[in-house]
């Protein structure tokens, strides 16, 4: 099964970190990504720009409205994701628990709807 691991963390905290700490974090992320590529569980991953870059788009009756994001103010913000291949939820939880941000923020694990091709 495929699971999307959504990474939530306090981006204000992150911005306050000195460069060495940020580098160390990125190093941990690099090692983690490498390890799930090796185990064959990696499908895709990306880090997102901070929430101040976010835009909300709606189309109603053919009229498009665009507003400044984020949608709701929360303590933790979506900062990136991993799309992984896992045997089942327990397997996915194991992978998600090793994402470096699991230690400071939280990871939401969502199964992907799979339709027959």
């Amino acid at each position: 099964m495929k699971y999307l691991c959504l990474i939530y963390d306090d981006e204000k905290e992150w911005q306050k970190f000195p460069k060495e700490v940020q580098d160390q974090y990125m190093g941990e992320y690099g090692a983690f990504t490498e390890s799930i590529k090796k185990s064959g569980q990696f499908v895709a991953a990306n880090q997102l720009q901070p929430t101040h870059t976010s835009t909300i788009v709606r189309s109603r009756n053919g009229k498009i409205s665009t507003t400044d994001g984020p949608y709701v103010e929360t303590k933790e913000q979506l900062g990136g994701f991993y799309l992984i291949e896992a045997k089942d939820l327990n397997d996915a939880i194991k992978v998600a628990s090793r994402i470096p941000s699991a230690k400071s923020g939280s990871i939401e694990v969502r199964p992907v709807v799979e339709r027959p091709a």
Partner: protein, 419 residues
């Protein structure tokens, strides 16, 4: 004559249903990979048993017969569905996935554990874990579970449907957790059992009859877990429940008034249950891998073994609370420890500890903290202070028997202050 035979067969099927249906269901869920399909297969298998056992006699191993009959019935059902829903293809996929059964004794017992761990998976909400466990593992009907938790049956049915949906769609596996995951996953199972027990034991709502049934169900579940997986904390929880249960009849008067531990008629305590609890505590403590349930059970065991409140080994109880606070720190445990210190060293010492907890701002909204404070002030003869503390407790307490108890204390104290 024929009626006699069919009545005999029906009795036998009923007996087998009571003793085997949960095992058969647990194995069918593994073989079929789906809760709903397994439940339908279970019912089909028992319906077939009523018919066929009358004709061909009762099989040598009813359990194996039921499992393989259920599996065939499920395959039939999937074939039929596949014909009507060929566009969907899902039923056919499932049919191919149905495994050929391996039915041996160990396998069946493992399936029961798989069922317990799946129903208590931490990815499900606590409410869903409880509902699913009582329904699938204990075999209570949706109506019975709804009645016990004073929830409308439709709400409970919805909860169960949603939980099964999550198990299926999120891919919660039907497995016994690995060694490394076991502590966390076992905690979740123990917590569900403990919540069910407390719901029955702390007669906060509803009639006392249904509540006692829930405690009994929790104890049965705890016993099953210890049988299948004799982990120290599982024993500790079973011990804690049996030791509490042993005191049930002495906890309230015939008219439903609350009786404090120190005032309980100890001749009413169930000796057999106490013996069982004490033996389990000793076994769990001996493992040196015990946790908070075992420690709480050890404290309950000391109370249960004391001939009178005065003969209680308060020093040992304080010591156990100290260990408990190290492994599982909580202000409520601190409060209980303070009460034990008051018994060991006198009310003054206990009062100082309670005041320190309240001064931190912890437990200021907890009625038992104020009631305990009121009791110690009362013992020290500080009547106005005791009255204030009990009044504060009364402002927060919601359970009727507790409110009546506090009011009773207040009446006596107010009488004393007038004299």
């Amino acid at each position: 004559m024929e009626n006699d035979i069919s009545a005999h067969v029906r009795d036998k099927v009923d007996a087998v249903y009571r003793s085997e249906s949960r095992r058969v269901l647990a194995t069918l869920i593994r073989l079929l990979g789906d809760f709903d399909l397994a439940e339908e297969a279970l019912h089909d298998a028992f319906a077939a048993a009523v018919e066929q056992w009358a004709e061909r006699g009762i099989p040598e191993n009813p359990r194996t017969w039921l499992i393989s009959t259920g599996r065939f019935k499920a395959i039939d059902r999937l074939r039929k569905n596949a014909r009507f829903e060929s566009a969907d293809g899902r039923a056919l996929d499932r049919l191919e996935a149905v495994q050929t059964p391996e039915i041996d004794e160990d396998g069946v017992e493992d399936d029961r554990l798989r069922l317990i761990f799946t129903c208590c998976h931490p990815a499900l909400s606590a409410d869903a874990q409880i509902a699913l466990t009582l329904r699938e593992v204990c075999g209570l009907t949706t109506e019975e579970v709804a009645h016990a938790f004073l929830t409308p049956p439709s709400t409970l049915a919805q909860r169960i449907v949603r939980a099964k949906g999550k198990i299926r769609d999120a891919g919660i596996p039907y497995e016994i957790p690995s060694r490394s995951d076991l502590p966390e996953r076992l905690d979740s199972v123990l917590h569900v059992i403990y919540l069910v027990f407390n719901e029955g034991y702390l007669t906060s709502r509803g009639t006392s009859l249904t509540r006692a049934d829930l405690s009994g169900e929790a104890i049965r579940l705890g016993r099953l877990l210890v049988e299948l997986m004799p982990e120290p904390e599982a024993m500790g929880l079973l011990a804690l429940m049996t030791l509490h249960e042993a005191r049930r009849t002495s906890r309230t008067t015939a008219s439903g008034e609350m009786v404090l531990l120190e005032d309980q008629d100890r001749s009413l305590w169930d000796r057999a249950q106490i013996e069982e609890g004490v033996a389990l505590v000793e076994q769990a403590l001996g493992s040196h891998r015990f946790g908070p349930y075992t420690l709480q059970a050890a404290i309950a065991a000391i109370h249960a073994e004391a001939q009178s409140p005065g003969a209680t080994d308060w020093a040992q109880i304080v010591g156990l609370y100290d260990v408990l606070l190290m492994t599982d720190p909580s202000p409520v445990i601190e409060l209980n420890r303070a009460a034990a210190v008051a018994m060991r060293d006198g009310p003054e010492a206990g009062l100082a500890l309670i005041d320190a907890i309240l001064a931190r701002g912890d437990l200021t909204g907890y009625h038992l903290a104020h009631a305990a404070r009121g009791d110690l002030c009362r013992r020290l003869g500080r009547v106005p202070e005791a009255i204030r503390a009990y009044e504060r407790a009364l402002e927060i307490a919601t359970q009727e028997p507790e409110r009546r108890f506090i009011n009773g204390r207040l009446e006596v104290l107010r009488g004393a202050s007038l004299r």
